[in-house]
């Protein structure tokens, strides 16, 4: 399982580094979305740092949907799917590898967007740094859950539109906890409770992925 996970992780990251979709498409989208959030709030409220955490996570969530689709689309070419299927890779390893690659990509994006929320939405830099551990865990949980939901919807009718329908409601509790922990960090409140909750969610999704990814691959 670990060997397969490392193999798939390296393959996914290599594809991303070669294609640069994250750099040239996803990041600009994320930054533009942050700007739109500021515009939507209006000039008097755009610099209000209390909106920062929620808007950061809202944009990150939209970015995550793009990246989940991208992560699944590299496997979706009919010929690729069939050929890779004949390699008989351990599905739990594939799940872990894809989740880890997606997590790395989300962390990279998250750091840029965090910087964006500090600059554009005037979120406190100190608070953003304090919130980093919970951001890391939230995005990891998003990556793991996203890999599962991406596999659930790939290949079906209207897969691109079905993913948000299934994933957004399921992500909402993660983002509530993420936003609360970020806000707690900004206001010097206790963040460790939220951090623990996120860790539990991350563990549960990981366990379910390891157990059930094979079932999704079979289908």
């Amino acid at each position: 399982m670990i060997r397969t996970a490392l193999l798939v992780f390296k393959k996914d990251l290599r594809i991303e580094m070669r294609s640069r979709v994250l750099l040239w498409q996803v990041l600009p989208f994320g930054v533009m979305a942050l700007l739109l959030c500021g515009i939507a709030l209006g000039p008097s409220r755009a610099g209000n740092s209390s909106a920062g955490p929620g808007l950061f996570y809202l944009v990150t969530l939209l970015v995550a949907l793009l990246m989940i689709n991208r992560s699944q689309s590299v496997e979706k070419t009919p010929g690729t799917k069939a050929s890779v299927a004949t390699l008989g890779l351990d599905p739990a390893g594939v799940f872990l590898g894809k989740s880890l690659a997606l997590a790395i990509e989300l962390w990279a994006t998250g750091i840029i967007l965090l910087g964006g929320s500090v600059v554009i939405l005037h979120t406190s830099l100190h608070g953003a740094i304090l919130a980093l551990p919970s951001v890391v865990v939230t995005l990891a949980a998003l990556a793991v859950a996203g890999t599962l939901y991406g596999a659930l919807t790939s290949g079906g009718d209207g897969a691109a539109t079905l993913l948000p329908v299934l994933a957004l409601p399921a992500f909402a509790p993660l983002l509530i906890a993420g936003e609360r922990s970020f806000s707690a960090a900004l206001n010097h409140g206790g963040i460790w409770r939220w951090w623990l909750i996120l860790s539990v969610a991350l563990s549960v999704y990981t366990a379910i992925g390891i157990l059930l990814y094979g079932v999704l691959e079979e289908s």
Binding site: L7, K11, G79, A82, S83, T86, L87
Partner: protein, 218 residues
């Protein structure tokens, strides 16, 4: 006293459904080791569906069958997929990876020594494109890359979906020689094509599909 040879493929009234539509409507088929079978038929006859069933890529909806010793109805299809080799006509690899990277991925997944990559590429004549990304290869070159993948894998059953499409005469001759070698090694080869094979080197059994089942064979 001769020993009966166990068929590599043994299907009985195999039905494959997709959304309620029968892609295969009852196929009876037995294939032996070291045999070459060509499956022909019009578009929509079920050629690719039959190959995908044999590859364990689609489930058996009704009927029964074993492929490479794996029961299609109740067996482990993942194990079946390890035992078969698939060459599709859509292109088989990650477009953004190079030839070397794609084959290294496959070799490491199968725990094959990496030296086999170079041997396979030499055999198919792609050594000079080893660091080219797959999306820059021509259709014929992608087909050769697929063959090199199979040469590394050395499966019991080779399932080739319209492999002769977009091959020139030289490539066809090379392909025939490769298939002859594969048959000699004991593998079962199944090829789908629109028409009968026009090959002097190969003497295949030809099966014609129509309406999702076998209508004639020679």
């Amino acid at each position: 006293m001769t020993n009966a040879v166990t068929p590599t493929v043994d299907l009985h009234n195999a039905v494959v459904l997709s959304g309620g539509f029968p892609l295969l409507s009852g196929v009876d088929l037995q294939l032996l080791p070291s045999s070459l079978t060509v499956i022909t038929g019009a578009n929509g006859a079920g050629k690719t569906s039959l190959l995908r069933l044999l590859a364990g890529l689609v489930p058996l909806s009704e009927g029964s069958g074993t492929v490479a010793g794996v029961d299609l109805a109740n067996g482990d299809l993942r194990e079946l997929r390890r035992r078969v080799g698939w060459l599709g006509h859509e292109g088989s690899f990650y477009d953004d990876l190079t030839v070397r990277e794609n084959l290294t991925f496959a070799a490491k997944a199968l725990e094959r020594p990496l030296i086999e990559i170079e041997r396979a590429l030499q055999r198919v004549g792609l050594s000079n494109r080893i660091d080219t990304t797959t999306k820059k290869l021509s259709a014929g070159q992608r087909r050769r890359l697929g063959l090199s993948w199979l040469l590394i894998r050395r499966p019991e059953i080779w399932l080739l979906d319209e492999p002769y499409a977009s091959l020139d005469d030289e490539a066809r001759t090379f392909f025939d020689a490769l298939i002859t070698d594969v048959l000699r090694s004991g593998a079962t080869v199944v090829i789908s094509a629109h028409d009968k094979l026009k090959s002097e080197a190969l003497q295949p059994r030809t099966i014609v599909l129509g309406g999702g089942r076998i209508v004639s064979e020679s």
